[in-house]
């Protein structure tokens, strides 16, 4: 078993296991910590796919940013009630059937496709190539993204403003 295969399977186990823990664990705070592990595992998958820059972005934005604001939201909403940070699930059977059915369909479709198994050569410095592509071919979407994030920021501040 080569190192690549071993790394993929261990990352897959971590990713699927922590994802299951996110949707099954009772304690909401623990669920967020499992989500952080799942997002870190995804960064590892990006590393396996030679996308070092995306792995860094994933760790900074996702595992850092999202986990922080989710924990913040939990603290704001749960502590004020004074209850335990627990959550229950409903209609587990129906949810499992729908999710398993979709998974079966997806896996069958993927298995039937003829997809490449070999990786073509890519630019040696992928980060540089990504940066150049963002600032040349995709410069307009990039600027629109800045507007979107500004609008999101203003919206979040507006929603979370103190009562006057």
């Amino acid at each position: 078993m080569s190192a690549d295969v071993l790394a993929f399977w261990s990352l897959a186990v971590v990713l699927v296991g922590s994802a299951l823990a996110v949707v099954l664990t009772k304690n909401l705070f623990h669920a967020v910590l499992w989500l952080a592990l799942a997002l870190t595992g995804t960064a590892g998958v990006f590393l396996l796919l030679d996308a070092e820059f995306l792995a860094a972005v994933q760790l900074l934005l996702y595992a850092g940013g999202i986990v922080t604001i989710v924990v913040f939201a939990i603290v704001v909403t749960e502590r004020l009630v004074g209850e335990r940070i627990s959550q229950t699930s409903r209609r587990i059977g129906a949810g499992a059937v729908v999710a398993a059915g979709l998974l079966l369909m997806l896996v069958r479709t993927i298995a039937q496709q003829r997809v490449p198994d070999a990786r073509p050569e890519m630019a040696a410095d992928l980060t540089r190539t990504i940066g150049e592509t963002v600032l040349t071919r995709f410069v307009l979407p990039f600027e629109l993204l800045a507007v979107l994030m500004l609008a999101g920021l203003m919206g979040a501040i507006y929603f979370a403003r103190p009562d006057d």
Binding site: V22, L49, R90, V107, T133
Partner: protein, 99 residues
């Protein structure tokens, strides 16, 4: 590892996220499921980019990550606002639009 392995892994994570979205009662728990689903899409994008030798998919992933973070920030702001109005974050009780 071939492309199929990565696609299958992403499909598994997507379905787990879908299960979470459908079964969780807590609104924040539902948002966590949505994050998982969006995350699996990113795996697909990067895998397709790597196996087709085109960097465009990775550029697209940068965009989706940024949009997802904005979505999470706004979603949680709405959750906090809903909590302030209704004193609950349980999705079943947030039925303001019930006819």
């Amino acid at each position: 590892m071939g492309l199929q392995a990565y696609l299958t892994l992403a499909a598994v994570v997507f379905c787990i996220g879908l299960f979470g979205v459908m079964t969780r009662r807590n609104t924040i728990g539902i948002l966590l499921g949505i994050e998982l689903m969006l995350n699996s899409v990113n795996i697909n994008l990067v895998a397709f980019a790597r196996y087709s030798g085109d960097v465009t998919g990775m550029v697209f992933t940068v965009f989706t990550i940024c949009i997802t973070v904005t979505e999470a920030a706004l979603g949680l702001a709405i959750v906090i606002l809903l909590f302030r109005i209704r004193r609950t974050v349980t999705a079943d009780q947030l039925d303001l639009l019930k006819g």
